[in-house]
């Protein structure tokens, strides 16, 4: 099997386990490419990709842009803050105008859940979801699980705890889908107010005590508190959150085994993660960023190939 089962990467939910493994294997090849003196291959030289970002991003956008450039694609960037969206243009109009300029692929971030799914019904270009509101962030989950695979080689029986703001996190949802498909055990941990109702229908454990979660897991994926999405108070103060859910070295030292610490970034140092953990040898945060480029190259490459085969 050398083809993805989908024409768009809208979410991990739509992928099969085989798709995920194919993306991983392709990313292995690209990881080798980006460690060469000349980090570029000509695969997508006849493709134009638009990065359409209706919401702020640093890492994801840079990572996508690098991935596109290393595949030799032509790249255009769009951000809503400096565009006609402010003048009242609709999403579909904006994207159709971009496509009229002969663009083959759209990488999109939007604050509304389902925005890329909506677009995929109306346009022909391949769409990669780079985060849709609180819904999914598939490439982040792929690079997270790819980083876990690099370290542990297998997922069977591996225990992964996702700690923090689960309610507002697209990273959490995509990671849960990906880890479950790959056969890992998943636990979510955070204050009760930040754990979505019915989360257990996804087949994950729920834990409110961060120390118990750390004791249980092999890998802890620590998430940022997304204050920008919180319109009411979910916990009394940042200081109190940090006191009860912040992860520091003394907490890790009490565990009977070393665990791996991950974070999708940006880190709020001193809030969810202390510097003595974020910069320790247990943290694979920067490997995640490196893997992000390889994973995004793999996704773009495979979608471009799928487009022809369809």
């Amino acid at each position: 099997m050398v083809n993805l089962s989908v024409n768009h990467l809208l979410g991990i939910k739509n992928l099969t386990e085989e798709d995920i493994h194919l993306i991983f294997e392709t990313a292995d090849n690209f990881k080798e490419v980006i460690n060469r003196p000349i980090k570029k291959v000509p695969s997508l030289r006849d493709i134009t990709i638009a990065n359409v970002f209706f919401e702020n991003s640093t890492r994801t956008r840079l990572s996508f842009e690098l991935a596109e450039k290393r595949l030799s694609a032509d790249v255009i960037n769009f951000s809503s803050s400096s565009s006609s969206v402010k003048k009242g243009e609709t999403l579909l109009d904006t994207v159709n105008n971009i496509l009229a300029m002969k663009v083959d692929m759209i990488v999109m971030r939007h604050s509304s859940p389902g925005a890329p799914h909506f677009l995929s019904k109306y346009i022909k270009a391949n769409i990669v979801n780079a985060g849709d509101g609180t819904h999914e962030h598939p490439t982040q989950a792929l690079l997270d699980t790819y980083s876990i695979r690099s370290k542990y080689k297998k997922f069977d029986g591996l225990k992964v705890a996702i700690i923090g703001d689960i309610l507002h996190s697209r990273v959490a949802l995509s990671n849960i889908f990906a880890l479950k498909k790959l056969g890992a055990e998943v636990m979510v941990c955070g204050p009760n107010t930040l754990i979505p109702k019915f989360i257990n229908t996804l087949g994950v454990k729920v834990e409110l005590d961060v120390f118990k979660a750390l004791k249980w897991c092999d890998v802890a994926n620590v998430l940022r508190i997304q204050l920008e999405r919180q319109h009411i108070k979910y916990f009394p103060s940042i200081r109190e959150y940090s006191l009860y859910y912040g992860i520091n070295k003394s907490l890790l030292d009490k565990l009977d085994k070393p665990i791996t610490i991950m974070h999708p970034g940006p880190i709020n140092r001193g809030v969810e993660l202390n510097s003595d953990v974020a910069d320790s040898e247990h943290s694979i945060i920067l490997q995640q960023v490196e893997n992000g480029v390889a994973i995004r190259m793999a996704v773009l490459y495979l979608l471009a190939a799928a487009d022809k085969a369809a």
């Binding site: 050398v2 083809n3 294997e25 392709t26 292995d28 090849n29 080798e32 490419v33 060469r36 003196p37 000349i38 570029k40 291959v41 000509p42 695969s43 006849d46 493709i47 595949l71 490459y301 495979l302 471009a304 190939a305 799928a306 487009d307 022809k308 085969a309």
Partner: protein, 183 residues
């Protein structure tokens, strides 16, 4: 779909051919102090390993051997029905100013070799590049590419295919066939 096939090389003939190619290589490159070999993925690597083993018996050392995957450099990406799965590239030496011998099993249209030349440039600027192939399918080139060392030249039709079976791949014996595909 009826298939009939004719043997081009068997184990014994292949050994003779490999021997001859090694001697030709030594004539050109001496003790290989400035030469390296790069096998093309996926099947050129088995042939390259065979050559490396045989060369060792003559010059008493392992010559440097790398494997190059050309999937991302192909000129038919998005032009063929089924995409090709990539293989690993392993070149853990510098090719800058070296004499590079590209090794593949079958030379047909020359497009893979074109992609390989492109792919190789990501690893430096070689002093000189030569091409060694086991089977040279004559009169079928799409590009002006010719081999420097040839195991065997064969006249073939477009409807024919050269099938290469390596022991290392799990076949009982090394065998090279010319297969007729009648639709």
């Amino acid at each position: 779909m009826a298939v009939n096939k004719k043997q081009i090389l068997d184990q014994h003939l292949l050994e003779l051919t490999v021997n001859r190619l090694c001697q030709q290589l030594i004539e050109s490159h001496g003790d290989f102090s400035n030469a390296v070999m790069i096998g093309l993925q996926p099947r050129g690597i088995y042939f390259a390993r065979l050559l490396q083993k045989q060369l060792k018996s003559y010059i008493k050392k392992d010559i440097q051997l790398g494997f190059l995957d050309i999937t991302f450099y192909r000129d038919d990406f998005r032009r063929r029905e089924n995409p090709i799965k990539a293989n690993s590239t392993v070149i853990d030496f510098i090719i800058e100013d070296k004499d590079v011998i590209l090794v593949d099993d079958v030379l047909y249209t020359g497009r893979s070799v074109r992609a390989a030349l492109d792919a190789m440039s990501a690893f430096g600027r070689p002093g000189k590049v030569e091409l060694l192939v086991l089977i040279n399918r004559k009169y079928s080139r799409h590009l002006p590419i010719e081999p420097d060392y040839v195991g065997q030249s064969v006249h073939t039709l477009h409807s024919q295919r050269v099938q290469v079976e390596w022991e290392e791949q799990g076949f009982k014996k090394n065998n090279i066939w010319l297969v007729n595909i009648e639709k």
